[in-house]
């Protein structure tokens, strides 16, 4: 798992699984990386093959911690490019109402990516 922070956006990539085996470590690693200027957390789920309830719980806990960290300021958490089965888990647990979910070729607000004609 890789964690990177730029322009107030904390990005997580290379997450192969998010379940009872690594949920606690995932949450702790990210909680340590939270900063005062944090505007958003983006978690790339394109390589994530397995998610369970414990992993979903860690996402919610991280969201709560980050929101608490930011206090008065706005904050967003995005899950990007989830595999179809991971997206099914997210939807089953209703977390698509809580987090922004973006698919390949879409921006966070759901609009299409601009196409360059040059």
């Amino acid at each position: 798992m890789n964690i990177d922070q730029q322009n107030g956006i904390l990005s997580v990539t290379g997450l192969r699984e998010l379940n009872a085996a690594n949920a606690q470590a995932f949450r702790s690693s990210l909680a340590r990386a939270l900063s005062q200027d944090l505007k958003a957390i983006e978690i790339d789920l394109s390589q994530t093959q397995a998610v369970d309830g414990a992993g979903l719980g860690a996402l919610v806990a991280l969201y709560e911690t980050a929101k608490e960290h930011r206090k008065r300021e706005g904050f967003a958490m995005r899950l990007t490019n989830p595999t179809p089965t991971v997206q099914q888990m997210i939807e089953l647990a209703r977390l698509h109402h809580l987090f922004e979910i973006t698919q390949p070729g879409s921006t966070p607000d759901g609009a299409l990516q601009p196409i360059s004609l040059t």
Binding site: A20, A23, G53, A54, V60, Q87, L92, R94
Partner: protein, 286 residues
Amino acid sequence: MKALLICPDERAGVTALAESVPLASVTILGKTLVEYWLEHLAGLGAQEVLVLAVDRPDQVRAVIGDGARWGLRVIVIPDKRERTREEARARHQANDNGTWLAAPRDVILMDHLPSLPQLPLFTSYADWFAVARALMPQALTPDRIGVRELKSGVWAGLNAHVAADAKLIAPCWIGERAWIEAGTTIGPNVVLEREVFIARGAEVSHSVIGPETLVGQFTEIRNSIAWGSTLINWERDSCLKVPDSFLLCSRELQRARPAPAKTPARVHTLLPAMVRFRQYVSQLLT
């Protein structure tokens, strides 16, 4: 008069449906496919039916017995591969002196329901769902003892329990001994098979929930077929084995557990965050 039924073997488009039972024995609104066909053939005047089964013939036999229920004599014949109608006719009719139903009713491949010949069952999960949805308005037949229409387009089977504040949106079919807890929303376009349990706060729409399936508290199932712990999104053709029994599972497995398993103990001990997650989702809904 005689007739011959060919059970469908494996179908690439719906492999998950045949995990626990052969396709001929999969339930659609409380009856298996082979039961619909035997009922239909009995109505056409058949007295003897041969059933060719490649996939788990013993399970097919267990469902239909000797056919006495329909006033038929039924023989299940194990086969090595699924025959075409022409092959089956050549093998079983050519040297038979009995009287057969007139073609094409004499040999039937069970890849659709008798009342919905235009809708294929096994080409995709979306097609399976389309059949279940189309069958609802015509499924209240006199042989279904105890089924009642709770309101227009909402049918409930014998001993089904629906909490007073559950929201039912037509059309939906609630199978025998199904149990729907408070604060749930069921429908539109929902089939709950027998002994389904929908826990508090769950929402189900445009979906089929298979027999004896438990849908956990505050979950949301949409555009899906849920069969035990298997969750298939028929729109995206995606299939998931749900790892957490408090979200989705077979009630049979739930009953087999040594202790009540509303929430698995490991989740409580390893991750209190999981509990907060459920509380959070419940807050979202209230």
